[in-house]
């Protein structure tokens, strides 16, 4: 079955006597048991809930995994993955990673004596240089957020497996519609399902998907034991959002390509970040592992002041953190989503202060470009004024 078909073919809720076409929302804390010693499939919604089961089956199916686990947020999902580690273990992380991930790894895992090293680069060779005997987990995003760097998934999978480590890929940026890391050798896929999977900016959710049964058992123990599983109503909304993932993303990335093209030709824009604009070597890696470029575009103007003015002059792009929704949005990652990156990491990864990140929605591309044009023009006027006054 092709992915567009899978997206709308949600499995029925197990045993639903009414065979409702839309998954019932089991908003219940507990379940009556067959007898004192005969237990049913469900007993308590922290441990399992039928609505969440349908969602988890769908997520496993879409990511080509065997088991999926839905969590209360993307960071709850990632936290569950880090619970697979023990004190003394080490994580290698691609340096350009979401700020919340940095905060979790650098500030919280430190308390469990789990160390973290940030790696610049995109190939197995780059990561091999930083690898140590303690490395148990390699965690990457590809393309990264917000600089859209590409990391070689099959190469890193081989490196991890040769060194008894696991490869975890945060697939939030492309979603299973455009990239399936488990097919490329990754052991674990995590998602902030809040983004493209949900797509309507109305749910906070995360997911972990694996193939290995032992990993799945451990993750289930963690999900049930720590209690960060996703609630039934959010599970339902997420299932509902997933049905249109394909049509949304097709439109969003077509719009994003046009926006990236427009920005590349604009005199006030000093640099544009989008997978199709990568250097040849990186783009070749990307093309081997992904089926599209996604809908996030970043760019620089040369100064924080100019970038701030551009962002504030936009009318169709609300200034928000998060991305992947139907409506376009804009942010200054250095001051917003990545403000939680510890200073020494920020210095190392060299996140440009003037970087503007656009999440492109399903609006008419012409309107989006017209809005960007007017915002850049307004600022250009200011720049000219300053030049003549100076």
């Amino acid at each position: 079955m092709k992915i567009d078909t899978k997206l709308v073919q949600t499995a029925g809720c197990p045993g639903d006597p009414h065979r409702a076409v839309s998954t019932p929302i089991y908003q219940t804390a507990t379940f009556e048991q067959e007898g004192a010693l005969e237990f049913s499939q469900y007993d308590y919604s922290r441990s399992g809930n039928p609505t969440r089961t349908v969602l988890e089956k769908q997520l496993a199916e879409l990511e080509h995994g065997n088991r999926a686990f839905a969590f209360a947020s993307g960071l709850a999902a990632l936290t569950a993955v880090t619970r697979l580690l023990e004190p003394g273990d080490e994580i290698l992380v691609v340096d350009d990673v979401y700020g919340g991930t940095c905060r979790l790894f650098s500030k919280i895992l430190k308390r469990s004596q789990i160390s973290v090293r940030y790696v610049q680069g995109s190939t197995a060779a780059d990561f091999a240089r930083e690898l140590s005997l303690k490395t148990r987990l390699i965690h990457i995003e590809t393309p990264t957020n917000p600089l859209l760097k590409v990391v070689d998934i099959p190469g890193l999978a081989r490196l991890a497996h040769d060194n008894a480590a696991l490869l975890c890929v945060d697939n939030t940026m492309l979603s299973p519609y455009l990239q399936n890391p488990l097919e490329l050798g990754a052991d674990i896929v995590v998602h902030s399902a809040t983004k493209f999977l949900c797509g309507h900016s109305d749910v906070i959710a995360g997911a972990v998907i694996v193939r290995d049964e032992k990993l799945a058992e451990d993750l289930y123990l963690i999900q049930n034991g720590e209690g960060a599983g996703l609630g039934p109503f959010d599970s339902y909304l997420l299932l509902r959002g997933i049905k249109t993932l394909g049509v949304r993303l097709e439109r969003q990335q077509a719009n994003a390509a046009e926006v990236a093209g427009f920005l590349s030709g604009h005199p006030l824009v000093s640099k544009v970040y989008y997978p199709s604009l990568l250097d040849k070597k990186s783009f070749a890696i990307h093309v081997r592992q992904a089926r599209g470029n996604g809908a996030v575009v970043s760019f620089e103007t040369g100064s924080l002041d100019l970038s701030r003015q551009v962002v504030e002059s936009l009318k169709l792009f609300p200034i928000t953190v998060s991305f992947g929704g139907l409506q376009s949005s804009v942010s200054l990652p250095g001051r917003m989503s990545h403000a939680s990156v510890p200073e020494h990491v920020a210095a190392q990864r060299r996140l440009p202060v003037d970087l503007i990140r656009l999440s492109i929605g399903i609006e008419d591309a012409e309107d989006l470009i017209a809005d960007l044009a007017q915002a850049l023009e307004a600022v250009e006027g200011v720049a000219e004024l300053r030049a003549s006054a100076g």
């Binding site: 029925g12 809720c13 197990p14 045993g15 639903d16 006597p17 009414h18 065979r19 409702a20 076409v21 839309s22 998954t23 019932p24 929302i25 089991y26 908003q27 219940t28 804390a29 507990t30 379940f31 009556e32 048991q33 067959e34 049913s40 499939q41 469900y42 039928p50 609505t51 109503f233 339902y236």
Partner: protein, 403 residues
């Protein structure tokens, strides 16, 4: 178990109805079936659900529990007005006539004056607290008597058993809007009513979180008629609202007990306040129909009204000064809500008519919530003090003018 033979206590009925755990999973609560349609095993072979405008498993669960509360099969609607509209459209055709309480929710008046009269369905608005006036308003084409008791906002009562006797003799159906007390405090079917009407938005759901309505009747033919009209005009309640309503309903008996205690305490306190001219609460000995109230109600609920001495200026000053009591038009929720009918809910009625209906300009309606009574009283106390200064100023201004 038939709904009329249910001998269980009220709380048991409102918590359980006759619902069983979900057959597929044992889930203790009915799932929210947010689904339009249902897969049929073969053409026309289904489990009673085909399309959610006609029926939905989550709505049916709420209806089951309300049926146990009402002692009569119940159907749920998107709003209280949708339930009332279905009632009138089911029973009245062109040229037919209804008798309606004169002190009634403004939306019911609007439905007749602006919608039903246009298609030839008429109503007489009658003081139903006087059963003789009801009898003399009956016309050859009168098909329905629709009463609201206690009435909104005066709390005037209608004797259900007495009106029922008149209706039965004339072969007319009696519908009672029981929104203020519900079947928990006023078992209208035992008093002879044929149809129960509820805005479930109020005490049934009780949390200011949903809008909804219901119709209940023991007459199966009538129930089928309501079902057909609901399906045809498309005003069934939504699954999520039904689920939330059922959730609120579980605490109905406890809430009504507390609402009633709080309202009684506040009514007694208001009665002694010098800035208050009159208090209407069916539980007060001074209430003109105290004897009927004691006979007809198990307790008297959370609604009361009172009149401040300084008229509209004092009433408006009071409304402006309250802090805990929220200025809002709903009623029946956990939060205490305060309304000035003359300028809010009943502003469309001419002042002379308002006064004749018992709604003077100084009248305030209070939906007493579940807060601690001393806090509600302290809030009213400070607001009444400010209202008094306004009426004093008015008086001294009047004296100056005379001088």
């Amino acid at each position: 178990m038939s709904s009329t033979e249910d001998k269980r206590g009220l709380s048991t009925r409102t918590i359980h109805g006759t619902l069983l755990p979900d057959s597929a999973t044992g889930a203790i609560l009915t799932p929210i079936y947010q689904s339009t349609t249902y897969v049929q095993e073969a053409v026309g072979v289904h489990k009673g659900f085909t399309y959610s405008r006609a029926a939905n498993p989550t709505v049916s669960a709420l209806e089951d529990v309300l049926t146990s509360l009402e002692g009569a099969p119940t159907l749920c609607f998107s709003t209280g007005m949708a339930a009332i509209t279905t009632l009138f459209l089911s029973l009245l055709k062109q040229g037919d006539h209804a008798i309606v309480s004169d002190v009634v929710y403004g939306g019911t008046v609007r439905l007749f004056r602006q919608v039903l009269e246009g298609v030839g369905i008429r109503a007489s608005f009658v003081d139903t607290s006087d059963v003789r006036k009801v009898a003399s308003a009956i016309e050859p084409r009168t098909r329905l008597i629709f009463i609201e008791t206690p009435a909104n906002p005066t709390l005037k009562l209608t004797d259900i058993a007495a009106v029922s006797a008149v209706a039965q003799e004339a072969g007319i159906l009696l519908a009672v809007d029981n929104t203020f007390l519900t079947a928990a405090l006023q078992p209208i079917f035992e008093l002879g009513a044929d149809i129960s009407v509820l805005s479930t938005t109020k005490y049934i759901e009780g949390h200011n979180a949903t809008v909804g309505g219901s119709l209940a009747t023991r007459d199966e033919t009538l129930l089928e008629r309501f079902r057909l009209v609901r399906k045809t005009i498309g005003c069934i309640q939504s699954p999520l609202e039904s689920w939330l309503t059922q959730r609120g309903l579980k605490t109905l008996t406890m809430r009504l007990e507390r609402h009633s205690q709080n309202a009684a305490a506040i009514a007694s306190w208001l009665e002694k306040h010098p800035a208050v001219a009159r208090v209407s609460y069916p539980g007060l000995r001074s209430f003109p129909q105290y004897e009927l109230a004691s006979r007809q109600h198990a307790a008297h609920g959370g609604m009361l009204s009172f009149e401040v001495t300084g008229g509209t200026p004092a009433a408006l000053e009071l409304m402006k000064s309250v802090k805990l009591c929220a200025l809002a038009e709903n009623l029946g929720a956990a939060e205490t809500l305060i309304t000035h009918p003359a300028s809010m809910t009943h502003a469309d009625i001419p002042p002379e008519t308002r006064v004749s209906l018992g709604i003077p300009d100084g009248l305030i309606r209070l939906s007493v919530g579940l807060e601690d009574p001393p806090d509600i009283i302290a809030d009213l106390e400070q607001a009444l003090r400010k209202a008094e200064t306004v009426s004093e100023k008015e008086e001294s201004a009047a004296c100056v003018a005379i001088a």
